[in-house]
Subunit: 214 residues, 2 copies
């Protein structure tokens, strides 16, 4: 999906004339320019973040930054692509393509949680998109396409008699998405006890957050 | 909780020198200054909204606005108080105070959804608070106090054997809050089919969003 050189930037050079600020892991991998930009977008808000803010946070000059990304919106697009690629990647997995609708949904819920945990800042940014720019509208459109696939699967599960009759597919899909996505509000990597989160969330979706004792 | 004259402002006067913009229901009740301010905060973001933006949106002069509210943060506080008063009001209802822990939780979930539907813009604002000002930190503290009451009730339900053993109270409370609060993302007043939403969400919390067919 991405034609941008987002995950393999050249090593960053320290800024010569910018105010002193320790660059955050300025070279490739987890310290990529994209990662720095996403952190700034999430902290300041996309609209309030300037290329100057970004180059200062990355510890490189503005012109070095422009060498890698055409501008702020290109960074936004690369970040949103990463989140969307992760989510659509789940839909393409064998476990999401084969089995009963319920089994597929269970696989997808677990996969969504895993993507969210692995790419937390990217998914956080995606969930905050409001449609102010062309890129944001594109991302909203992709989110809607994802949600439509989930709604269709819920409908298939109801039609197959796997899910209790009376469950309304569009509402169930919205609540499912709300349950999964709410995790960005509190999940932070490295905390103990979160290894089972994908299974915990899937169980909550299918059996209830507060299931009655057997 | 509120000592501010938030819900009963004097009738607004049309702005003489401000750029022409039709005031949105400028007098008391649903068209209160507070309502106008909350709409602006939700649209522009609190930080990006000036008193000038607010007086223009309300169709009154800045000095008229200051007659009712000491400033932007007073408006924010009044708005957040309204949302928090609604939510804590649910905890004080007889149905939240009597019965088994499960019955109380069910009552609270339904009540939270009702508050969210009735005071959507206020709750939306509350859920976006990030702690940048003293008022925001106060609101976060109140939210934490609310969540702590829910966690304690979930623990009581597990201890009483009403909820399946193995449910972790802190996680269940977070998922519950996530499920309920996610509704602000898509619920819009007046749409058909939302009258049953409080019951639908409570059922999803206790039996699952995708409960197996019986």
């Amino acid at each position: 999906m991405s034609g941008l050189r987002a995950r393999d930037p050249a090593p960053a050079k320290p800024a010569a004339t910018e105010p002193a600020r320790r660059p955050r892991r300025p070279s490739g991998g987890p310290g990529s320019l994209l990662e720095v930009a996403v952190a700034e977008f999430n902290t300041r808000g996309y609209d309030a973040t300037s290329m100057e803010d970004l180059s200062r946070a990355a510890g490189i000059t503005k012109s070095s930054f422009y060498h890698h990304f055409a501008g702020k919106e290109a960074l936004l697009r690369a970040a949103l692509e990463r989140a969307l690629d992760g989510l659509f990647g789940v839909l393409a997995e064998p476990g999401a393509q084969t089995g009963t609708p319920s089994e597929r949904l269970r696989h997808i819920v677990r996969g969504q949680v895993r993507v969210l945990m692995a790419d937390l800042p990217y998914v956080t940014l995606l969930l905050r998109v409001r449609g102010n720019t062309e890129t944001e509208r594109w991302a909203l459109e992709r989110r809607r396409a994802f949600d439509a696939e989930i709604t269709a699967l819920v409908r298939a599960a109801v039609d197959a008699g796997e899910v209790r009759a009376g469950v309304e597919p569009a509402l169930a899909a919205k609540l499912l998405s709300g349950l999964v996505n709410s995790i960005v509000e509190w999940y932070r990597p490295g905390r103990p006890g979160t290894a089972t989160l994908p299974d915990d969330v899937a169980r909550a979706a299918f059996a209830g957050i507060l299931p009655a004792a057997a």
